[in-house]
Symmetry: C2
Subunit: 142 residues, 2 copies
DNA sequence: TATTGTTATACTCTATAACTATA
DNA sequence: TATAGTTATAGAGTATAACAATA
């Protein structure tokens, strides 16, 4: 039954998503972060990002992002840096303390997910990564 | 490089999760529901569920669940039904209107995810579903 | 006493609309 | 005028702790 197969894959995606969501909840909590803060800090481990791009990546309204950044800036985990070439804009970057927490959180998320997939043969894991990347990329350009 | 492969799969899982999360955001919004409400209503399409089991499945504190159910009950999308065999407990079930919205939301989520995976050959899709189910199940018994 | 669920409280998260500063 | 970001406001989501009702 073709329909049955399709329903199963959608359900599998939903269930897996639920699991990964809670990997973020748990990793965040272990580092005294909300899941949203954990996600933000993990993103920033690749380097400073502008507010506009952050809002796009996180799919948040700019005002929602302002508040999210406010709360982690208040805890001195990130700082806003004015863009000198366009003084309306600013970059968000990790502080020293923020980097420590961000890396610890990112490592914990990665370790948990790696453990989750440890049973898969290497070949399967490689193929799985490729397929999932393709699915995620196909939709991100919405 | 083995490490590189592992990092990629973890990253792929995170990115895919982000996409699926927003499928729920969008499907919920189209039906005037928050993502959490959409998730709750979709679960209830399989039939009434007790508060204790709902809290476990959604991984919420019982007080958080009380509030979530309050807000959809206030909109008459669900109702609480006392369990006659244990009068401390109650079941949560969809109302007629709630069923309509829940099914519409569930269908939209499923349709979007099916569209996302439509390019995959049937064989690949079947195998993917099996692998993802296994990953999700392995972790749910935490 | 133990368990099921609610209430009280304090935050965080989010969107919409109005605003400020810069371009 | 247009754009980048903030502020004001309102409501939803969440956890902890204390509570009520039932077992």
């Amino acid at each position: 039954m073709l329909v049955g197969v399709e329903v199963d894959l959608a359900t599998a995606l939903v269930r897996l998503t639920h699991v990964v969501d809670h990997v973020f909840v748990d990793a965040g909590r272990a580092n005294d972060l909300t899941p949203q803060q954990a996600q933000l800090l993990c993103l920033l481990t690749d380097g400073p990002i502008g507010m506009a791009e952050l809002a796009k990546v996180l799919r948040l309204e700019k005002s929602s992002l302002s508040g999210l950044v406010d709360r982690v800036e208040r805890r001195e985990l990130v700082r806003r840096v004015r863009d000198e070439s366009d003084r309306r804009a600013c970059w968000v970057e990790l502080t020293g303390q923020g980097t420590k927490i961000a890396v610890a959180t990112h490592d914990e998320v990665t370790a948990t997910l790696d453990a989750l997939t440890a049973d898969l043969p290497t070949v399967e894991r490689t193929r799985l990564a490729a397929v999932l990347f393709r699915l995620a990329s196909a939709h991100s350009g919405r």
